[in-house]
Amino acid sequence: MAKSNINQSLLQFAPMQSSVDEGFWHKFSSFKLNKLGIDDSPIPITGFYAPCSHPRVSNYLTLLAESLPSESSEASLIPEPSHGNRNRCSVPGILYNTNTVESFTALDIQNLLKKEAKKIWDDIQSGRAVEDCSVLSRFLVISFADLKKWSFHYWFAFPALMLDPPATLVNLSPASQWLSIEEAESLSAACNEWRGSKSTADIPFFLVTIDPNSRATVRLLKDWEACQSDDHKILFGFYDPCHLPNNPGWPLRNLLALISSKWNLKSVQFFCYRENRGFADMSLSLVGEALITVPQGCKDAMPNAVGWELNNKGKKGPRRISLAQSMDPTRLAVSAA
């Protein structure tokens, strides 16, 4: 059943990629002018992602106008997350916007990444990440919004806790090959039900148990202790935004950190859940087995983190977008004349 095509190779994860909707920058500009002024304190924002839904393109972590807190609510700066939208799993993030180019380039980006990674680590240690797995993925954005030129410089990071030494891969194959036909059918149905229910549609990390009668069940992470049973197969599942056939996506990294730190497992079977046209697809989804060896004594120390995104030139560095065409009143006047 299990196909061991890659022997003891390093487990390599495809980085999360960002996408910013034009509406985000419009709303941010108005937010900056009407509410923030020159206040450059970090702003809590929400990013959205969904499982990969096409065999040729990965999904992105997307910022929309709704990612920002409401301008009117004086009470809180926390954006209200919308729940139950299967195409919008919320990821908590933070935006550091600076008022000048100089302060942008002076940001201590290593330290900012570490700060977000620490939140993830603390939530793993406290058990909060098991209760509410949406805090297992986090992101940060640094930006310089040049509102006079309608030009925005920005850079995303998706902090991932590093395992040291790195996890190795025993095998990785399409779920349709790893599972029996009955199991694959049952798991497909269970996943579609999970994704179709408003209460679970946007929960991106989960457990899959398969009983000896090939019946698959999808459960919450916090049920891990409860579903220990010798004759059940257990897979750790996550919504995989990545479409690549030989690499799991980025969210698995922090899940493995949690599994290693919290449950002390040495061998982890994971399930990269992917869809085609909005429905579970077991030939695009992957099942793999990772080996984790964390030396004793290093367990309580916070691991290092990585995750700055490459820009559109393929380098580590900020991206830039100019929205003068849709925001500059003089240009708008010309095009309307």
Partner: protein, 310 residues
């Protein structure tokens, strides 16, 4: 924007303000939708093709006649692997049977121009398209996204004066995805956010396109025209304000949607299929596929279009 288009916009806006939304069904007679039928058809699309979802858009732009959480439909990150201009021939082959156009091929007319009697050259005063000479042979330019133009380059790219390379993270567990080679002959994978709004004036759905390049940077709306069938790019696609979102977006103008949908419905009925209104958007999206043939959005047709039993 030419004057005739401005005038038409003003006229349309006034009519929309003073007339109530359609409440009586004229789906089979005119190929149009009432507001409640749009909701029914949208709910069915979301249920059958879950990559689509309802959104509420900008609060200030909400339409009072639509439920606040069901203002428009959207599907994001839809792949577009080839430029439409490069597959015109395939379109010709597939378009005929989808469009259900008559022999004169006049199912489509100039956006706001006078109705044309014959299919003349694609010229005339096609609103807001004058400057957009996109020829079939034009290659995809490097600077196709909003990453910067000639006139706003006074701020250098920060990556160039910052020492970010010093902090390159050494992590053997990161898989670096190979970039598509820099070769103009290779058509890059673009992605699209496609939204469907309800056009109260024409009483039909209306499609809006937001394009992104292969690194998910926003495309200029003009470049979106490369992914529109070239027959339509200069006639029926305009760049306008989105009714629920900020910014200018490319839109397929709905002035002939009702008539074409009516033809599709007539053909189905002549085959003994009684189309149901909740299937409207599936028919509509299949018809849209002739305009944007390379954008791979979902519109499953693997089920019965209507009931032929009664």
């Amino acid at each position: 924007m030419v004057l005739s288009q401005k005038l038409h916009e003003a006229f349309k806006g006034t009519v929309e303000r003073i007339t109530g939304p359609r409440t009586v069904s004229a789906f089979k007679e005119k190929g149009v939708l009432s507001v409640s039928e749009f909701i029914i058809a949208g709910d069915n699309l979301v249920a059958k093709c879950p990559t689509w979802s309802w959104e509420s858009g900008e609060p200030s732009k909400r339409k009072p006649y639509l439920p606040s959480e069901k203002q428009f439909l959207i599907t994001r990150n839809v792949p577009c692997l080839r430029r439409a201009a490069s597959i015109e021939e395939e379109y010709e082959a597939a378009g005929g049977e989808v469009l259900l156009d008559d022999e004169d091929n006049d199912g489509w007319l100039a956006t706001h121009g006078k109705p044309k009697e014959t299919k003349s050259d694609e010229d005339e005063d096609l609103p807001s398209m004058e400057s957009l000479e996109i020829s079939k042979s034009s290659s995809i330019k490097q600077n196709s996204s909003h990453t910067g133009g000639e006139d706003d380059d006074d701020i250098p790219d920060m990556a160039e004066f910052s020492e970010y390379d010093n902090i390159i993270e050494t992590d053997p567990s990161t898989y670096l995805v190979a970039h598509e080679p820099d070769d103009d002959n290779i058509l890059r994978t673009r992605t699209y956010d496609i939204s469907i709004t309800y056009d109260k004036y024409y009483q039909t759905p209306r499609v809006w396109l937001t394009g992104y390049d292969e690194s998910r940077m926003l495309l200029q709306p003009e470049l979106v025209l490369e992914d529109v069938s070239q027959d339509h790019a200069r006639k029926t696609v305009t760049i306008e304000d989105h009714p629920h979102l900020p910014g200018k977006h490319a839109s397929i103008h709905p002035c002939r949607h009702g008539a074409v949908m009516k033809k599709i419905i007539d053909v189905l009925m002549s085959r003994g299929v009684e189309p149901e209104v909740d299937k409207y958007l599936f028919l509509f999206l299949k018809f849209m596929a002739s305009v944007i043939p390379t954008i791979e959005y979902d519109y499953t047709m693997d089920f019965d279009l209507g009931s032929s039993s009664n």
